[in-house]
Symmetry: C2
Subunit: 350 residues, 2 copies
DNA sequence: CTGAAAGCGCTAACAG
DNA sequence: CTGTTAGCGCTTTCAG
């Protein structure tokens, strides 16, 4: 094989511009201590030679790695990919995170880690040792896993926790699930619904509780009772079926159901269909997530949109700004979710 | 901020095991020239200390970067992500490529590059200079872009070309689109169809031609004419609508249509519906790609499955084996596509 | 504001 | 088979 063409290094640029390597380094790192004309000259050489610094060498030099790790739950992610049902959580993370990284010269690397695993620390530790990322973006349920956050904290690696408000290190970001649940509930209230059922998400997720709170609060403000209207679930289709069945079998069944995930809402839709209930005329349904599938059901689902791309982008920004030395606030960042009205919600039947 | 905990390096392991750094290096690189007992002792120290070599340092040492770049078309990928219609090309690449990389200690980095851009070389060159990947996986249409393949070749970077059989450097992989088109055509022939329309994909893609060939060959073998049955398309929904319209407006309209993409097949489905044709009783439809959306249409589409995960995995394997010094064959690798029969195909109407 | 020196963690090329 | 030596390309000291 032909010898790999030697790439242009900082040394070449230095020679070309007639300055020290150090000055070139200062220019590429936007260091203030460079005379403008000097910087300009160096920049000209950089452009001329098409110089791009090597990530590996920069890392070795003792500075940043310009790498951000996006951690996702291995089991769930693989199941999503293999089932090919269109769940696009990772894509949205890439859309927001990767593009933001690119804008700042960073790259994003996706990493899958088991949640329910005793060697979680070994797995994550190995990834960190190998990659030495400048930051890690944690999604639920990792974002609230103390094994993970502690490890990261000990290693002095900054990280963002999406969907967690637990005290502790790391940037916290939420999509204000409570508010989102209110939005959904209020939409139904405006349509005249009075009995609105709610299917909770897995209790392992902080945000499951927030969503219940939002629904409860909106119902309370409307002066409505919630007795028998809350059913547990775990985000899965089957749990949605079970919850909807329980809800509709109740003494005073709801005319609308909010599911804490798209899958659970689909479960409710199936139950409705099986019982000959028309959606939305007999039963309105709202889901959480707004994954692609909700666009394809009949009717398509009114859904709470999780702005994953936006929150990933913010996560990356927080990490990158922190790397750059900007002293950032550690207050939770809120990227508000919104409601997209589609065909699964309509006026309550009188 | 607390000083970043100094990670364990090869030096620590060497000291712990009482050997030279070089010996440790040999062990982690599975070099043959190490006595088994020695290797065992070193490995014990590695495990004890939880040592994981730094990617950056390995790169700097002059060996591999353990990074593989997966190049995708920027415009199309972003459009897919933003539309949230469930296209999962990137996910499938990750599923196959990332997992394979992980198995060998590599990581995969997704990179988006404009196809129709004059600064394509600058963009790609910069990515390569920064990352110094050990290999690049090219998907269509990049895989047949001479600007890209030449650049990679000049830089001495190995790469895999998915969906291209053009002569030249790089590993070539296909999903045997010709065979796939035959499969689809033969399925329809068996159902008694004699007039089978075909909507071609964008002529910018080599595989568009292969698919047409497969269809033509199968028709010829069945002794059937193809006059007026081939319509051009560009993979898009609207082109599918146009093609299906032209086909059904023809003198002797087809009873079945094969679309070279899911989107074009959806276009055909829409046209059929608009004309009051029942699918599959009045018109059978088959699509190429098998993206998630085909599972959600009514009826769900019979489709040619593009085994993107498998072909990405093979790509990564080829690159990694090549890096490891194994002398690989440069014959095209074929990962066969398959046909999934769903509800959009049925017996031809008599 | 700029330059020189030292070293990051690892591996290649040699010695032994 | 194992150890020694010399960098890789950059950034961090620290001088000027």
């Amino acid at each position: 094989m032909p010898r790999r063409k030697q790439a242009v290094t900082i040394r070449h640029v230095a020679a070309h511009a007639g300055v020290s390597m150090q000055t070139v380094s200062r220019v590429i790192n936007r260091d203030a201590n460079v005379r403008p004309e000097m910087a300009e000259r160096v920049q000209a050489s950089i452009d001329k030679l098409g110089y791009v610094p090597s990530l590996a060498a920069r890392r070795m030099g003792g500075s940043r790695s310009y790498l951000i790790l996006a951690l996702n739950d291995r089991e769930r992610t693989l199941a999503d990919w293999e089932s090919r049902m269109g769940a696009d959580w990772v894509d949205q993370m890439l859309l927001g995170g990767m593009l933001t990284c690119a804008k700042h010269g960073y790259r994003m690397i996706i990493e899958l880690v088991d949640t329910h695993s005793d060697h979680i620390e070994r797995e994550l530790g190995a990834a960190i040792a190998a990659v030495r990322p400048d930051g890690v973006i944690l999604t639920p349920p990792h974002s609230q896993n103390p094994l993970i956050t502690r490890l990261l904290d000990e290693q002095g690696i900054r990280f963002a926790r999406i969907g967690s408000l637990l005290e502790g290190p790391g940037f916290r970001l939420t999509m204000d699930d409570e508010h989102a649940a209110r939005l959904a509930t209020e939409h139904l209230l405006q349509l005249g619904h009075r009995r609105i059922g709610f299917v909770a998400g897995s209790p392992d997720y902080e945000l499951s509780g927030w969503r219940v709170q939002g629904w409860r609060a909106a119902m309370a403000e409307a002066g409505l009772a919630t007795d028998g209207l809350l059913k547990p679930g775990d985000f899965s289709y089957t749990s949605g079926v079970a919850a909807a069945t329980a809800l509709l079998d109740g003494a005073d069944p709801p005319t609308a159901i909010i599911g804490s995930s798209d899958q659970m809402a689909f479960g409710a839709l199936a139950v409705a269909r099986a019982r000959g209930l028309e959606v939305p005329s007999d039963l309105s349904i709202i889901s959480f997530d707004d994954t692609p599938a909700v666009r394809f059901s009949h009717p398509p689902l009114t859904a709470v949109v999780q702005p994953i791309a936006a929150v990933s982008a913010r996560s990356a920004e927080l990490i990158i700004a922190d790397c750059a030395g900007e002293e950032p606030s550690h207050d939770p960042v809120v990227v508000e979710a919104s409601l997209v009205v589609r065909g699964s919600t309509g006026p309550a039947r009188r």
